[in-house]
């Protein structure tokens, strides 16, 4: 067992305060909610539908955008090109801009008068007030998490393993699918989970693009605005519980997969 010096004990005290700061409000909310309230809230179709909507739209956004994000991350990890630092900065942009502002930008981008909006209308897809619009807003704010994690993953695959595969007769595509992708997989899965989590907790960008259909963060806000703290609390607790169990499950599955290989 490690002994702490007085100096380190001060650090320990500050750390404990920080943990309390995160846990106290959450635990306070949990204890202030009666189990019966939770059951009643779960019985409301509106609540169940919104939780389901939030989960699947975020999942869909993650999967769809991964098809572009993963190959792009590979390039970012392996290739040097002019303005690479600028490109890296662009990827991080959604993290630093206010999400309501991001929502305004996306609304302009997908509205009925925009190029994308018109193209969508032509095939009968209206982004505004549609799950597709929600997915776009979620992806916009959460894509940096996947790109950065996947890029780090590819970066950690030793270049000489790829070289060895080339010399053993593999084409560039085969090298990517049999060597780079499997070896970076742990980081990629971690990035996918982060992107999914960040997407489903998004509020600011989504509420501007699509107030309806209502994702859970918007529903919580609406109940708070209309009925106050007491009514917003059970939905919040329920949503947190469900998201937490989801992440624990996903992490567990990712770990099992890694163990098995």
């Amino acid at each position: 067992m490690h002994r702490y010096s007085t100096f380190q004990l001060v650090f320990l005290f500050l750390g404990a305060l920080l943990l309390l700061f995160i846990l106290a409000p959450l635990l306070g909310m949990f204890f202030a909610t009666q189990p019966t309230e939770l059951v009643d809230t779960w019985r409301e179709a509106e609540v169940r539908e919104s939780i389901w909507l939030t989960l699947w739209v975020s999942m869909a956004a993650t999967v769809v955008f991964a098809f572009a994000a993963i190959p792009f991350s590979y390039l970012m990890a392996r290739k040097e090109f002019p303005l690479k630092r600028l490109v890296t900065g662009i990827i991080d942009l959604p993290v630093v801009i206010p999400h309501s502002a991001a929502g305004i930008a996306i609304l302009g981008f997908v509205s009925r008068n925009s190029v994308l909006g018109k193209a969508g209308s032509a095939v009968g897809l209206d982004f505004v007030g549609h799950p597709a619009g929600i997915a776009v807003a979620m992806a916009f704010v959460s894509i940096p998490y996947l790109v950065n994690a996947a890029r780090d993953g590819f970066h950690s695959v030793p270049l000489r393993l790829e070289k060895a595969a080339f010399v053993l007769g593999a084409t560039p595509a085969r090298v990517f699918f049999t060597i780079s992708l499997p070896l970076a997989w742990r980081n990629i899965v971690s990035g996918l989970i982060l992107m999914f989590a960040r997407g489903m907790s998004e509020f600011g960008a989504v509420i501007i693009v699509a107030y309806h259909p209502m994702i859970t963060p918007v529903l919580i806000y609406e109940r708070f605005g209309a009925f106050g703290l007491k009514y917003a609390r059970p939905v919040s607790v329920l949503f947190i519980l469900i998201s937490l169990s989801f992440f624990i499950l996903l992490r567990f599955l990712a770990r099992e997969k890694n163990k098995s290989r």
């Binding site: 393993l161 070289k163 060895a164 053993l168 007769g169 593999a170 085969r174």
Partner: protein, 350 residues
Amino acid sequence: MLELKNISLSNTGFSLKDISFKVNKGEYFILLGMSGAGKSMLLEMIAGLTNPDSGEILLNGKNIETSKPYEREVGLVFQDHAIFPHLTVGANIGYALKRQALSHAQKQEEIISIADRIHIGQLLNRQPSTLSGGELQRVALARTLVQKPEVLLLDEPLAAIDTKLRSEIRSLLRQLNREGQTIVHVTHDFDEAISLANRIAIIHEGKIIQTGTPEEVFASPRSEFVAHFVGIRNFFKASFTETETGCIAEIAKGLRIVSTHKSGPGEGYIMIRGEDLTLSVENYESSARNNFMGKIIEVSGSRTGIDVIVDIGVPIHVSVSKESVHSLGLAEGKSVWVHFKASAINSITK
């Protein structure tokens, strides 16, 4: 069969200038040079992973410079093995077979046959993380040999494994070469070069400065760098006879040297450092087991003192101090005795 013509490449850290050499079919060719001389880069160019700035690479007379790595019939074994950590040993070996139109059973057969040849048949289902350095090196060899490459390129194959296993891998490489495999091997270790090569090329500051058989290169280094790099001026081909306490090495007809090294019976080389020899004008009783008389054929200054060459049947280099040259009156034509201990001899068997 493999020919490099005027290959040049500049890169950060090193540059290769006008590299030309030819490797014949069935030959064991070693590129010997210090770390960072660009040796590995040469192998990567032959394998097609890097392109030279200028020059040509020919395999069986055909220019392969524009062909992709997977189209060239060369196999490269990396210094640190580069075994795929997420695949079993069997899958690692089978990786190169995917391009070939073989049935699953035929592929399995190929994998098992090569694994048996390299003595890793029992490891096929293991994960690479459970293997030792020597085993990984064998897997890397098997994985490359399964492609049946025209030329096997080895990048410091013995550097990452412990001394005990080295002789095992050496004899494996020798065996592969005896079976007809053409090998190009890069190393910085001259012991390794002597014990394996048919021919050696010494590379220094981006240029090949000498090419020849081990005897030619070591016995008559053509530049100071080679002499310094090989370190040892007294380098002789020898045939060994085992004795109770070591061996006897015959380096010329009737010229027998006693060594405490256990070597032989068989052919090989012996090396004696010039600093380990002493000179005297008269013979005297001492603990040195090797005492020969000869005529001085040259006295010249060297970086470490004075280099005296005495003909004792073969020319032998002795390092002495300036003071000794004066007090013993060492000069060309003078007869002297050369003494050295049996333990001063280093031997390498083929």
